[in-house]
């Protein structure tokens, strides 16, 4: 627990809360949360329905829990593969150099400049709001690997010239072993931070797409929850819990992720003795 800072603790507390809501609570509920007219519509919050029900007859609490889970899963999926591909591409580009480096970086710079949302909207509009979440996740990965790739490449460029790497190479270590044993420890801390940040970006992109009805409308995610609430004039009808609960959840989850990321960076800086 040494070196644990306030941001790290606060971020962990907030995220644990939502992780429990998203991954534990859905286990307690057996029905289909997105099914319409399961309950009477527009009930006030009570012991039976913690957050009441909405105009579609869905229980808002269970819907919220499931939405949190799906959104987290999208975030983790995209973050894992973006970070993995990014680190590999960055290492290869930085260590190989030459033409490989230039091609990887040109691709990375290109994907950074191209705005991802219009492409996602194009896919969403062609599938009329039934795009699979995997497809959306895949596109998000294509747009998120360049950030770690750029960073890891510049790290690899400086590492390549260090004496201890040369010594390892001359003493006959395999390239894989050098990567894993000598280089990865330097890249690790930064990559964890990037991983957390990509979770945030992925959840944010998917829900942004979902808010305008271009994601997978029949799945429960935080974004589609806002979409359905908006579609049924939740604001005009003053149904603040329905539209407010996913909004509040997104805000808190994102603040939690951001605190965790900056906290982790401070933590690893302290551990390195800075």
């Amino acid at each position: 627990m040494k070196n644990w800072n306030l941001r790290l603790k606060l971020g962990l507390v907030i995220l644990s809360f939502f992780m429990i809501l998203g991954f534990f609570f859905p286990l307690l509920y057996s029905g289909n949360v997105t099914e319409w007219s399961t309950y009477p519509t527009n009930l006030k919050p009570s012991m039976e329905h913690f957050l009441g029900t909405n105009s579609l007859g869905q229980d808002i609490f269970w819907l919220l829990c499931n939405s949190i889970r799906t959104s987290f899963l999208i975030g983790l999926f995209v973050a894992f593969f973006s970070t993995l591909i990014g680190i590999l591409a960055g290492l290869v580009a930085g260590l190989k150099g030459g033409a490989v480096d230039r091609i990887v970086m040109l691709l990375a710079d290109t994907f950074i400049v191209i705005p991802s949302l219009p492409i996602l909207i194009l896919i969403g509009s062609l599938t009329k709001g039934t795009a699979s979440l995997f497809l959306i996740g895949g596109v998000l990965i294509a747009f998120n690997w360049p950030w770690p790739a750029r960073q890891v490449r510049s790290m690899a460029l400086t590492l390549r010239e260090r004496d201890y790497i040369s010594i390892a190479r001359f003493s006959g270590e395999s390239t894989i072993r050098i990567l894993v044993k000598e280089i990865f420890p330097f890249v690790k801390d930064w990559s964890i931070g990037n991983f957390i940040n990509t979770i945030l970006v992925a959840i944010s992109s998917e829900s942004g797409l979902a808010v305008i009805g271009m994601s997978s409308n029949s799945k429960a995610t935080l974004g589609t929850m806002i979409y359905w609430a908006n579609q049924h004039q939740a604001m005009l009808g003053g149904k603040w819990v329905w539209i407010g609960s996913p909004v509040v959840a997104i805000c808190l989850i994102f603040i939690g992720l951001f605190l965790l990321m900056t906290g982790q960076q401070q933590y690893s800086a302290l551990r390195r003795g800075k």
Binding site: L106, D109, T110, I112, V113, I114, P115, S116, L117, P118, I119, I121, L122, I123, G124, S125, L126, T127, L200, S204, S205, S207, G208, V211, I212, M214, I226, M235, L236, W240, I243, G244, V247, I250, C251, F254, I255, L257, F258, L259, T262
Partner: protein, 338 residues
Amino acid sequence: MKFLKFLSSRLLTYIFVILLGMTIVFFVPRFMPSDPVESMLGQMMSKSSTMDAAAIEAMRKTLNENFGLEGTLGEQYFGYMKRVIFTQDFGPSLTMYPVPVKELIADSLPWTVCLLGISTVISWLIGNGIGLLAGIRKDKAYSKILEGIAICIYPIPYYIFALTLIMLFAYIFPVFPLSANFDVSGFTWENLKTVIWNSVLPALSLILTGTGWWVISMTTLSRNTNEEDFVAFARMKGLNERKVISRYVLPPSPVLPNTILPQITMLALQMGTIFNGSLITEILFNYPGLGSLIYRGILQADYNLIMGTITTSIFAVATATLVIDLLYPFIDPRVRYN
């Protein structure tokens, strides 16, 4: 020489971005299960009976061209690229036939450029100003509070701000109009007032989210620079604080890292993200820019419009990034001289 090298690498990326972006836009519809042309024609025929057979045939032809369904794949691809790059021709809008998509885009692009340009500049200035203050006065209570607020604001996405602002200022406290009204023609002061009044909320949601990021990054940058030896030396030689900041912490210095340059690089890298945010903000506020036009295309299944607006947005973001990149040599002498 160095400048030429810089320029050519940026131009190369720019061209590559546009080509790759257009290629994606060209190929995505081909991988989709449904045939958009026939479903669209069916939809149109059911909507209006005024179109005769010849018009429908002509429409099918433009549609087939637009989706690259005539000739071999190679011919279609190069035909599409040539048509879009040299004539910016995306065919007629299907729902507002025969108005060309190009015209609709030309009407809405200035709105987006203005909203996005003004709000990005404002948030960049405010954010970096606050960040600088919080960075160099790091022991003061107010700088901690400012940083704390920025940390809570930054991670929240644009559309959440947009929704919250709508809830607060259009429903709960009805200060601003619920549905924006930009139905103005010609330039009068009265019209300008209407436009500004209706743009306050969308601009505010873009400015608020943008600012958070600039505050956070500028705080870190200026804090680090402020602890550099050369800044300490400048203080020791008796320069007053204002001069230390303006000459050493803030400006690009020929030899040492500084704070403004990374922030400009960051702005260039962030253009795509900022644009994504503005699309959704426009849609939620019904603001008459490119975002709303894309949305209209989606709602009415107007594929010419969708293809046109999406290609345009890639082009716009790439161009904005290039322009910011080209500001570099004016600010950084290291790129100008060898």
